[in-house]
Structures are given as structure tokens and as C-alpha cells.
Symmetry: C2
């Protein structure tokens, strides 16, 4: 179970880096709730709204931004799982200026029809 989820997360992150939107959303639930780095305050709700958040981020990555997983811990049960990760995410200038800065990511997953789907995401940077 852990391996299956680890592969899902790595496939998702790789698709983000190449701007492959269909693969980014392939393992996500229709009712996903994402707490993104920027607002909305109440979260991004539903797969349609989730899809819309990605193209601007693909542009950021295409201009030299990073989205590299440095640590990933998975806790998988029989039918529900969660995972958390630390990422290096920033422009070249930001990575130079704040090499220690981390994007924190938490995922909530459900097992549906014999496969795992991501139903919750929480992305944030610490605030000094």
C-alpha cells in the first residue's frame, strides 16, 4: 500500500514538472478539497476548480521554478491513507536567497474501486 501511494505521489509530482495536466488529475477524487498556498480562504473545491489551479503553476515551473520532493512519508491503512512531504519549491532566485525554505504538503487518500485516489491536499510555506 505504501509503495502504491509513493508511486502515485511521485507520478503526480513528475506530471506537475512536465505540465501534464491529465496525469496530474488522473488519481484525484471529484470532490477533492485543496488548501492551496494562495487563497481562496475556504479551499479549492471540486476537480474542475482543482484543474484550474495548475496551468499558472506550470508557467512558473517553465520559467525555472522547482517542485522537488525531498522527503515523503506515507501512512496507509486498508481503505484510508495520508502522506506528508517536504519539497524544494521556488524560483531560481528564491532558492538562492532561501535555500532552506520548504513547501509542506499533506495528502489525504481513499481507496475506491481497488485503487487509491487523492481526496484532500494541503500545501503551505511556513510564515516567519
Amino acid at each position: 500500500m505504501d509503495t502504491e501511494i509513493r508511486e502515485l505521489v511521485e507520478r503526480w509530482a513528475a506530471a506537475i514538472r512536465t505540465g501534464d495536466l491529465e496525469t496530474v488529475v488522473a488519481d484525484h477524487a471529484d470532490d477533492i478539497v485543496m488548501f492551496d498556498v494562495p487563497p481562496p480562504q475556504d479551499g479549492v473545491r471540486g476537480i474542475a476548480a482543482y484543474r484550474e489551479t495548475w496551468p499558472p503553476f506550470f508557467e512558473f515551473l517553465a520559467s525555472g521554478g522547482s517542485f522537488d520532493i525531498l522527503e515523503l512519508q506515507v501512512t496507509a491503512g486498508t481503505d484510508v491513507a495520508y502522506a506528508f512531504a517536504l519539497l524544494r519549491c521556488g524560483s531560481a532566485e528564491e532558492r538562492e536567497r532561501r535555500p532552506d525554505q520548504r513547501l509542506r504538503l499533506t495528502l489525504g487518500l481513499r481507496r475506491e474501486g481497488g485503487r487509491w485516489v487523492v481526496a484532500h491536499e494541503h500545501h503551505s510555506f511556513p510564515v516567519d
Copy 2:
């Protein structure tokens, strides 16, 4: 399962509001990893470090701060669960200035010895 976790989260939040540290940590795993609003970038690791984060927050609450759960969604499996919540969290002045601002909270839980324990927390505010 959902009800048990909902009660756990509400008991924890009530203990935060009254500054009752023993109840705040009562249902938490020794190996908890918390992504707190402030740094450290790599998260707060272990129950001893987790305990230390609370007394300064109790002071903030005692001086008029809020920590009110507005929405709580629980996804519980047989042995692993996660939950996410939106909270009104700020000083009286912040609540006046930004009434729509929300603290986002995600929890990861494991079932151990017939009860649920919180093994992961992620707290953040959206960044404009």
C-alpha cells in the same frame, strides 16, 4: 469512527482554548510530525517538541485570540484516518481587519490499541 474522531478534535480544540496542555497532547503519537504556521521549515518532530509549541499560543489566546472550528470533515478508515478543518484564528484586531481569513488544518490519525491517535498535523494560513 467519524464521531470518535470528531469528538477527539473538538476535545483537543477546547483544551487549546483553556490552555490545558495535558489534554492537548493526550491523543497524540510520540512520533508526531507537525507542520506549524511558523518554522521550523522541516516541521516540529516528536511529542516533546510538539508540547513546547503550545504555551506561547495559550498566551495569544489569553490575550483575546480565537481558535474556533467553523468546518470539520473527517474521513475515517478502519485503521487510518485524516480530517481537515477551517478555523477562525486571530487576534481581535485581525478578526476585525480580515473577517474572512481562515486557518487551515489537516490531521493524520492512526488507530493504535483500540483508539485513535493524531500522528500528523498541518496548520497554515493562505498567502496572498
